[in-house]
């Protein structure tokens, strides 16, 4: 059974057809990419899968469960996590609190427990704290646990966002342009880092990325979309030589 199965996904915003009949399958423990020119509808796909948009038509099955129309936090609780093209951290909470909050869907206590400081509250918070520290340790962020994210350099902010996504122990991680705004040395780091995450956490990764180097070295499969339609899919090698892709996406240049 595939981890994620999308069929016939269509999204219209008023008169704009952002996505047309998009179908896609992703197995457990796969690392695949979604590429396409600017405005092709890549982020729209992610926004629909993570529950942020309600698709006009189509069906999404995640982990054997249809998730169309579920609220984003419900989908997160099923094991999906994502990062954003433009970093979206909670800038006035410490890095540690940012990671802690990623466990929100699995809190295990409610309002009265929090106010009355019950045993259940103390046990749950202990678990959350331990988990958050563990993730920080793994992502080599322990030193900035008490910092506010906005005081960190850009590269570290990206890493915090990644750590926050991983703290929910997702089965599927969506990365929206993880290399955006990184210099070439940082990109090398990122490639190693993503591969390490993929091996270490045994999860599936689906990424949108503009930097060809990243997708070509990391991804096992690629899907290319343009104007909301899939124009090609296959291994990086096949995509590299696909004349349709070269024409639509890269113009006359070669990869």
């Amino acid at each position: 059974m595939p981890l994620l199965e999308i069929s016939g996904l269509t999204q219209r915003f008023g008169g704009l057809q952002a996505l047309t009949d998009f179908s896609f399958r992703l197995e457990e423990h796969e690392l695949v990419g979604l590429i396409g020119p600017n405005g092709a509808g890549k982020t729209t796909v992610f926004n629909i899968v993570s529950g942020f948009y309600r698709p006009t038509a189509g069906r999404i099955v995640f982990g054997g469960r249809p998730v169309n129309g579920l609220k984003p936090h419900r989908i997160t609780a099923l094991g999906l996590a994502r990062t954003f093209q433009n970093i979206r951290l909670w800038n006035d909470l410490t890095v540690l609190d940012n990671i802690r909050l990623a466990r929100y869907a699995w809190l295990g206590y409610g309002f009265w427990s929090a106010v009355l400081r019950t045993k259940r509250y103390r046990r749950a918070e202990k678990g959350i704290e331990a988990k958050a520290r563990e993730v920080l340790e793994m992502m080599k962020l322990t030193d900035c646990a008490g910092e506010l994210p906005r005081n960190l350099p850009y590269g570290l902010q990206r890493r915090v966002e990644l750590a926050r996504a991983l703290a929910g122990q997702p089965r599927l991680l969506l990365l929206d342009e993880p290399a955006a705004g990184l210099n070439s040395a940082d990109v090398e780091d990122l490639i190693r880092h993503i591969r390490w995450i993929y091996d270490e956490f045994k999860l599936s990764i689906w990424m949108i990325e503009h930097q060809m180097k990243v997708v070509m070295t990391l991804c096992q499969r690629l899907t290319v979309i343009d104007f909301g339609c899939v124009i090609a899919s296959g291994t990086p090698e096949e995509i590299r030589n696909d004349p349709g892709v070269i024409k639509a996406y890269l113009g006359d240049e070669t990869l």
Binding site: H73, W90, N91, A165
Partner: protein
């Protein structure tokens, strides 16, 4: 032991206050001012949950205070007094000191439910638009209360003084001061514990980046309902205490002017800072009371210097020029308030050695 120094000091101060009042060593006026200081603390700290931590601009907090004041008064009258409205008391008046917490609880719950009036629209609206809704909620509540003739309508409602007297008959203590001090403690503990738990930090997450919050598993609608209900519920607690201290309520005491007082206290103290808002509530209450004396002095002084035309007297209405003016000056020169969004223990880290907060 040292870690509890400030905790013990605060408890001792509260006990000393009650002791002084008990021994009749406090002027009645001073006692009332201190009690109102406590009520303002509850009012401001509860408003701070929405305006400070959640980053929404609620300007209708007075409305929830109104609900609490009326429901609290009605419960008191029904429980402990012989009234035209409810007939014989439900409980023996001797039980008043023990059952009064039930009155406060009922008032808070009713106000929390009224909070839904703002919480539900907040799912789809934010910022300025939600602020307008809060103003509307304030008006709706006041209009409803004013149009129910059974509870006095625009004439107001009274009778709960008998319940307070019933408590005094049972034991001669400064009951309302005691309940107010307990109320302040409950309110501060609730907000503090909430906002230091991961559960409560969901409120900050919604404030700082709602999209990220929703995507990272925070049920934003539930967080909003919770924050608005807790905030308005504690506002209702302030209202119930207010009604019993005065012994008389009128819907117009909870109009936008009251809500504005709350806003002044929150912005004076610093949004998202409990200690700052507590300081502001105390300072604001003192300022308002001080103006009672300062305005006549000012009047005499200006007449003596013949800066005011003869026949014009500076009245207490000028309070509402001077207080907003302080707000304008504050926004100009220290927009973050006393403490910004930091707590006293963050500004003076050494304090942490003397106080234990859990």
């Amino acid at each position: 032991m040292r870690r509890y120094a400030i905790n013990i000091l605060l408890c001792a101060a509260a006990l000393a206050l009650v002791g002084l009042a008990q021994a009749d060593m406090l002027d009645k006026y001073v006692l009332t001012v201190i009690t109102f200081m406590g009520i303002n603390c509850i009012f401001a700290v509860s408003l701070n949950l929405v305006n400070g931590y959640m980053g929404e601009f609620s300007c209708g907090h007075g409305g929830f205070m109104c609900v609490g004041a009326y429901v609290g008064s009605l419960l008191s009258v029904a429980f402990f007094t012989d009234s035209k409205l409810f007939g014989a008391p439900l409980f023996a008046p001797e039980l008043a000191p023990f059952l009064f917490p039930l009155v406060l609880l009922g008032a808070s719950l009713a106000a929390a439910l009224a909070g839904l009036l703002v919480a539900l629209p907040s799912f789809h609206t934010r910022d300025d638009y939600l602020a307008i809704i809060t103003i509307a909620a304030n008006y709706i509540i006041i209009s409803i209360v004013e149009n129910i003739d059974a509870i006095g309508g625009p004439r107001g409602f009274s009778g709960m003084k008998k319940a307070v007297n019933a408590m005094s008959d049972f034991a001669d203590c400064p009951w309302m001061l005691i309940w107010t001090l307990i109320g302040v403690a409950v309110c501060v503990m609730t907000v503090y514990r909430l906002m230091t738990s991961t559960y409560g930090k969901g409120v900050s997450a919604v404030c700082q980046n709602e999209v990220a919050a929703e995507i990272m598993g925070v049920d934003t609608n539930r967080v909003k309902i919770m924050a608005f209900m807790v905030s308005s519920g504690l506002g209702g607690l302030a209202g119930a205490l207010y009604a019993h201290v005065y012994g008389y309520v009128n819907a117009q005491s909870f109009n936008l002017l009251k809500s504005t007082e709350g806003l002044v206290m929150v912005y004076l103290g610093g949004m998202g800072s409990i200690s700052g808002v507590l300081m502001a509530a105390v300072a604001f209450t003192l300022l308002v009371e001080a103006l009672r004396f300062v305005i006549p002095w000012l009047n005499d002084g200006l007449h003596a210097l013949s800066l005011l035309p003869a026949g014009y007297e500076l009245s207490q209405i000028w309070k509402w020029v001077i207080i907003p003016l302080t707000l304008i000056l504050l926004m100009q020169f220290r927009p973050e308030g006393f403490l910004g969004n930091r707590e006293l223990t963050q500004v003076f880290p050494r304090l942490k050695r003397w106080i234990t907060l859990k």
